[in-house]
Amino acid sequence: MAEHQSQAAAVHHRAGQGGKGTERTITPKQYFTVAAILAVVTALEVAVVYIEAMRPVLVPALLFLSFLKFLFVVMYFMHLRIDKAIFSVLLVTGLIMGLGTFIAIGAIIP
């Protein structure tokens, strides 16, 4: 059973790399570490809102922290760190289109 499971896992890892044979994977320990980072960054975001001294840099600070959380989720939970580059390309394309829509709406609504 264990032998087969590791065989199945190896198949998955190779597949994730497009059959290159490099056995990169994300372990449960890494998932839990990322979840802990996400929790800490969320706590930081909330703390920043309540710190008066942070008010002048509130928007860039919040944008940076939420971008950090976004990166951790897409790289680890959505496997872009180990998956084929085509999926990253699709996500970045979507984000650029989303940003374009955002800007276009800003331009057309008075």
């Binding site: 065989q7 998955h12 597949a15 998932y31 979840a35 929790a39 919040l62 939420s66």
Partner: protein
């Protein structure tokens, strides 16, 4: 992930593990050598980025332009929303663990973590229902002011995405409980996972832009 070929000879006692590998005839390959269902989900995610880009853009453009109350500062309960945000973030961890279980042929792990993901998704929706009922009681309806319109449309659309995700995961969970390992294969679980994580990243942006920047936007 492109393929889940069955091994030539199955080791004894590995039936459950083998069953979680999608049969060769089930694989949907595209010209790029990756599963077409997975490409389809990423394309959906890319198009949904535009959708949420439009909704978030509209919310920000009209932020602070309401002529009558209630206003965001009067209503938002940041500690409460932080708890619901934490639950949704942790549901992504549970989903990642469920996908890990599916990819390693561990049906028990898959069912346990999938069940937890559904539970956390429902809890998040419960928080949203509580928040909406509180806001409506305070006088914020969809047509009350620009804040009400843009807030409910944005968070409501996200809530519908969460509800559909919960429904999808529940169907997957029931299928797994029935032991239909042909449908509950690693590719199908991973695709459901991608959708769930996308819903999570949208909320990461909504939480920062709508809730935490409320004072600045006003």
């Amino acid at each position: 992930m492109s393929t889940y070929p069955l091994p030539q000879q199955e080791p004894q006692g590995a039936q459950e593990s083998v069953a979680l590998q999608a049969p060769a005839h089930e694989a949907h390959h595209a010209a790029l050598g990756v599963d077409s269902k997975k490409i389809g989900m990423w394309l959906f995610i890319a198009s949904d980025c535009m959708f949420f880009g439009a909704l978030i853009g509209t919310y920000l453009i009209y932020a602070g332009k309401s002529t009558v109350g209630p206003y965001p500062q009067d209503l938002f309960d940041i500690p409460l929303t932080t708890v619901s945000t934490f639950i949704l973030l942790m549901s992504s961890l549970a989903m990642a663990m469920a996908v890990h279980g599916a990819q390693h042929g561990d049906m028990k792990k898959l069912k346990r973590w999938l069940g937890l993901t559904i539970l956390m998704g429902l809890t998040f929706l419960g928080f949203q229902v509580y928040e909406y009922s509180h806001f409506i009681a305070a006088g914020l309806t969809l047509s009350r002011n620009l804040f009400g319109t843009t807030f409910y449309v944005l968070t409501g659309t996200h809530g519908v995405h969460v509800a559909l995700g919960v429904l999808w995961l529940t169907l997957l969970f029931i299928t797994a409980l029935r032991g239909d390992t042909k449908r509950v294969n690693p590719v199908n679980v991973e695709i459901a996972g991608l959708y769930w994580h996308f819903v999570d990243i949208v909320w990461i942006v909504v939480f920062a832009v709508v809730y935490l920047m409320a004072d600045v936007a006003a």
